[in-house]
Symmetry: D2
Subunit: 298 residues, 4 copies
């Protein structure tokens, strides 16, 4: 298949490479020339604009962009995809954005004859490189079935979440819970240690008990508890604090539009905002435990 790919950053770059490896031909676009040239070296063709991608006789277009504003510009702008794509071209947006924007863009695409899916991912840059991402997909079943082989070239779990926008809903609901859980683990671990417990012993008990969660078992925030966790390598790698902050912002914004209270979600957003304010936005989000430690500034 001939696939257009827009957005070749830390996530989009390795995703596009996996499509090449799977035997697809690619026409790519990114505003940063070096991101484009890296893909061209790997076998992709370069296009000069979103419009040029859309006019390159592609079967499918995949986008991986940082914000809803970028998505709207790339899809709805004068030089954008909708204005230039042929009828029937399948559109897949893997950006993480708010569900309302996702639904609005998909509705316009569908109305002009372009089936569209929202398909945000989890799994991080590691999963993008290894082709083990999880895709949370919103849109009709038939369009999902059509996209499945392509998405499977980039991820190992491709989950249909329901109608348009529901991929985004699943992503932000999961990540809001993830943020709450991580801050909760940080509080529980910091409390236990302050009261005299060994962190490894406490983590072991929690992980065998009702407090267990991904944040305690896989990404424990206390250095030394898990050798494989970012906490044990200075909170480098992993899922950055500012990315968690972005997703918590999307969750509370969506909750506002749905008139749905999310008290812990909103409090957690503020905790991550405080943590980012202290200069830790680039560290793995498990570094939130620094908020609970004396002299964390050192």
């Amino acid at each position: 298949m001939h696939i257009g790919f827009l957005g070749l950053g830390n996530m989009g770059g390795p995703m596009a490479r996996n499509l090449l490896k799977a035997g697809h031909s690619l026409t790519v676009f990114d505003p940063f020339p070096q991101a484009v040239s890296a893909l061209v070296e790997a076998g992709a063709a370069a296009a000069a604009s979103p419009a040029a991608v859309a006019e390159a006789n592609v079967d499918v277009i995949i986008t991986m962009l940082p914000t809803a504003a970028h998505v709207k510009e790339v899809y709805l702008g004068k030089d954008g995809l909708l204005a230039h794509a042929s009828q029937g071209v399948l559109l897949i947006d893997s950006s993480t954005i708010d569900p309302l924007s996702a639904r609005a863009v998909a509705k316009l695409a569908t109305a002009q004859g372009n089936p569209m899916l929202d398909a945000p991912v989890s799994g991080g840059t590691g999963g993008a490189a290894a082709g083990t991402l999880t895709f949370m997909v919103g849109g009709s079943v038939s369009v999902y079935d059509q996209a499945l082989p392509i998405l499977s070239a980039m991820g190992k779990n491709v989950v249909h979440c329901g109608d348009s926008g529901n991929g985004q809903v699943a992503k932000i609901a999961n990540n809001m819970l993830l943020g709450i859980s991580m801050a909760g683990v940080a509080e529980a671990m910091a409390l236990g240690v302050a009261l005299g417990m060994d962190a490894k012993v406490l983590a072991g008990i929690i992980n065998a008990s009702s407090g267990r969660c991904w944040s305690s078992e896989i990404n424990n925030p206390v250095p030394g508890v898990l050798d494989s966790a970012p906490a044990s390598r200075g909170y480098s790698g992993g899922f950055g604090t500012d990315l968690m902050l972005k997703d918590l912002g999307l969750a509370t914004e969506a909750a506002k539009h749905a008139r749905q209270p999310v008290l812990l979600g909103a409090a957690t957003q503020q905790l991550y905002q405080s943590h980012s304010l202290q200069g830790y936005g680039g560290l793995d989000f498990s570094s939130i435990i620094k908020l609970y430690q004396m002299g964390n500034q050192a």
Copy 2:
């Protein structure tokens, strides 16, 4: 062995029965005569006071009491255990109380020649009846080794958590995290449903993703998601809201003494307090999701 047992309520009663089944002889006390007579029918001897239990030539005394005030009265009162127990009698308190009180009582016990452990449990009334409780034990290794065979007659996991009081620390740290996680799951599920997702689909995605936790996998708060969860039987059974509220109170109180911030823990305590105020104190703690639903009063 001859074991004294004080506190024969919903937890202590079945725990004492399991000791009888394991072949131990028991002398028991409880202020409610019917609780005592039920155990006497099962083969235990009755005592008229804590002092009488202590003077019944026991090797071990186990207590299962509702609050730190009860523990202090039973151990430190004029008719209490310390004033009447022979040197060398092993004392095990399975009540859930604050670590400071646990340490204070154990220090006095040890000073007069009675080794003592704090050994709070998790697993609920079901685990107490089935003998599958988890014991979180604080005290020296040698005393823990001495108690292990006895505790194993009542539970399947007996975990040494470190020095005196650390059993309580592990319990309240785990349960604080549990309360936060459950409220977080409630918010994430309510948000997802409000935004148009099917609850079962969302739970499936979360449980395969980084948001997964015991509260989403085993005790999902949305009715119908898990047939085995309290949510699917009107929030009956399980771990009551007011018991969660008690443990959150112990956690924030211990945090105050340790000068340790626990922002989400304190917020969650208030959410459970609000939920209890609406009359839901007796429902399983997963019913906290009612806080996030329109017309929850119905």
Copy 3:
């Protein structure tokens, strides 16, 4: 002067009437015909669109609209004010919207030769009718000076808050604090009463002490404490819960863009969201005290 006025609702209607009373001539627009006809009866001329207002040879145009989306449409749309206003016409937006949108619109207006102010108000529908509103004005001093006589016909306090957008900043900062204070007063009063104090005695002490604030002195949330407060007439009149919720949403959104933590502001937004979810969105915002009372649903 000849003034254009767009948005003739509960606030805009009486504001426009006060301009007529002050001797100005008015050309007005509102999508609801009955809102327009009421003003026409009072002496205004009707226009069929924002463009028609702009082309009616006006000196000044004032807008009073519900959301930033409306403001953008009315100012920036094809039939909007910027596309049709003559150079030099003074533009005053009295809507309460986020500062970023206010600044963006004002920048475009200024660039094409139309001086513009953001001038949100406080004082409610009572103040609009009585001409006693407070205007919080953002923009250059010279433009502010030009607008002062016009705004003074509708309000008794006209405060210059600094550059463009700062009127909105002052409004949302004040109202975020107001929401926090009211919820704080509700908690303090509910706590005192639960602990056995008479509400009037407690209010008296607080109002003579360091806890005093507008919400305790002027709008005390306990019925019977102040005869003049909405609480003493079933929480009718006053400043509605859903309006407070809107302003808290603007505040937390602006905080997100400024990367500024507002933990109590965000928690208060969620409390008001919970309160609105229970069906109290139309009551005065002091009704938040119902969240803290048993059986508040009755």
Copy 4:
């Protein structure tokens, strides 16, 4: 009158001096000899224990102690006041403690023939020295009337709050609201400044609007806004962060016993705990604004 006075610290010392100035004779006790000798130089007699004060033929005994544990020890211990005071001696406790403890001690005192009042103060060390404290008094009207002349020698406002314990209720309800208001002012000011406003202009608008409160008008947390506020002298003097933290702890503890939710109160307690953890416990509580500022550690 002959008055016994126990607790001669930063508050009790100057309060006792004012009683001497008013012509009363004093017998005093404090565990720190230098605190006693300072009062002896001013004309008081020294006693070697609480019992010795009670047996010094006093008409009234006033206590000013740091915690409920101290109050219980001084009143209820073997060498304590109740065991040694003559019938009819009036007891006044000006410590700030939880209402339950205050009521428990007063009940025992009254039962043995010693009328007792709880009479915590506000006004700080400055008010103690100047004799301008506010006393919030719980107890019967007749006992209040009896105490009024004595309290008036130390304060300018003496308010009867109702039955026993209500002085403490008024104090903690007011101070909880004060803590919430101050954190709210800090958030509003930090948000406004982050969005581009001048702090003095914003404070001026808030103080003329519905956000106004003691914390914005008298103790504004931004340096330079008020020359007389602690913020303008490095947050020295004033009411310390750790004292606010103590009062918030009393408020949330009393709320727990009353089963009353106080969500913002609990969140504010955690914010002050976080602030104290960073080493700011000794600064005026308005320094909480540092939590909201980048690089606050500097």
